[in-house]
Amino acid sequence: MSVASETVDWLTDSANWSGDEGIPHRLLEHVYYTGLAVGIAALVAVPLGLWIGHTGRFRNVAILVTGSMRALPTLGVLSLVAIYSGIGLTAPLVALIVLAIPPLLAGAYSGIESVDPRTVDAARAMGMTEWQVLLRVEVPLALPLLVGGVRSAVLQVVATATVAAYISLGGLGRYLIDGLAIRDYPQMLGGSVLVIGLALVLDGVFASIQHLALGERSRVEAARRT
């Protein structure tokens, strides 16, 4: 039997679809790690990005820092943190947050920057406070790029969250790492197919949200024209 047909067998074996080591549970774990990492990263990066975009301050610093963060090898960060934090969720979370921050931050500040300065000036002239300018004008107009940042972060994290399995956690990475350890290629390939499938589905979801956000932008712009 070829590896391909064995992979199909692995994916369709009902024994692999139940229990704590089954595919549904591993998928949930994987989505949980991804959601947690992107969520925490967003709490840090989005407000910071909005502030940088609104005030124009520290833009170069942000580009420099996020550029360096992108260059950090995830497995290296994971190993380094794990030596101090031990096994558990901390090390993979830190590594994935480091991965998620640059696209989120870039999405936020470039989103705000993409707003026509004349629109912002007009909003100020109408007597809006800075908070109103940010929340009622800039953020709605920045939404497509903001969501684009989230979409990009989610994709990177979902594809990389497999490293969580490197130090004792679950997720779809278990299939890759356990499969490699015992040269079980159908299991590895099956796990890879699942990661790819999950990434595609999530990308589809965020593409739709981005589309909705574009609708929001045209609504705001239409309101401005009337």
């Binding site: 130090i167 004792s168 790492i177 356990d178 490699l180 350890a181 790819i196 990308d203």
Partner: protein, 303 residues
């Protein structure tokens, strides 16, 4: 974006396969058999195997044998064919892994049984000399505190400890010497298995010291065992196959003089020596294998 991501994942898989498939033979390029008066010593990987290879080399050179070296061979899968085609002549190997490599159905696990089974199992043209008591194999370790509290000094004692977590590389879950063996041979059930992919390295050690796991699979020659006063559990049933250092040599090059020299080395080398030399090799000083080999040979009066 979608395409880039998909291709990235596909590339990652390809790399994964590439890594595991590279059992290719790095010594193939210059595989001309060495001149008849020269002995080529190989070593798989770096570190311990290279230290032992250096010990062989310096001791044989002291006897007037001309030596060439080929260190850093990636795997046994590459090294054994290299021995057969003569691109290397001598290799320090580990008895249990060598036996299961040449005989997939081998069941011997005790040091004496493994050594006795080797000569018949080896491919024609290869032979081994006497095995050393020095051994580098998987071992189950607990902290001193855990050992004292639960009265555990042997794997068999674990049967009376309920609900402990065991940390090891992922393959431990499936291999005969791993979880299946603990259940079958020692009747230990309900083990919480924690896969940590670092071959008993710093992350496994940290998990043990943090009490995230209570039992850790660590190679016997890892300095962290003695540095942290860990208790290595005895294995009365020989669940974990012996991995004694043993010289594997081409019969065509195996002279009595070489055999005598290597047998003396094997007899003198101990697991504690390996721990000590690995510690110096990996530690802050990064002492080179050739320096360590010379120190050891001098200390044992073998030069």
């Amino acid at each position: 974006m979608k395409l880039t991501k998909v291709s990235a994942v596909v590339a990652a898989i390809a790399i994964g396969f590439g890594l595991t498939a590279c059992g290719g033979d790095p010594t193939k390029d210059d595989s001309a058999p060495s001149a008849s008066d020269t002995l080529t010593i190989g070593a798989v990987g770096s570190g311990e195997a290279q230290i032992v290879a250096e010990i062989y080399k310096q001791a044989l050179e002291a006897q007037g044998v001309k030596i060439k070296t080929k260190y850093g061979i990636e795997t046994r899968e590459a090294a054994v064919p290299a021995l057969q085609d003569g691109s290397i002549d001598l290799l320090p190997d580990y008895s249990g892994n060598l036996l299961t490599f040449v005989d997939k159905a081998a069941t011997a696990t005790s040091p004496a049984d493994v050594e006795a089974a080797l000569p018949a199992a080896l491919p024609k043209g290869l032979e081994v000399f006497k095995a050393s008591p020095a051994e580098d194999k998987d071992s189950l370790n607990v902290t001193k505190a855990f050992s004292d509290k639960n009265g555990v000094t042997s794997i068999a004692d674990l049967a009376k400890v309920k609900g402990f977590a065991l940390g090891a590389n992922p393959e431990f879950k499936e291999r005969a010497y791993g979880i299946p063996g603990l259940e079958k041979v020692y009747g230990i059930t309900g083990i919480k298995f924690v896969p940590i992919s670092d071959f008993g390295g710093p992350k496994t050690l940290k998990a043990l010291l943090d009490d995230d796991i209570q039992v850790a699979d660590i190679y016997t020659t890892t300095p962290s065992i003695t540095e942290n006063n860990l208790v290595t559990l005895a294995d009365p049933q020989n669940l974990i196959a012996a991995q004694n250092l043993i010289p594997l040599i081409r019969t065509a090059k195996a002279t009595t003089a070489i055999e005598d020299t290597l047998n003396k080395i094997s007899a003198a080398l101990t697991t504690a020596d390996l721990v000590d030399m690995n510690g110096k090799n990996n530690g802050a000083d990064k002492v080179a294998p050739d320096v360590l080999a010379k120190e050891w040979l001098t200390a044992k009066n073998l030069l």
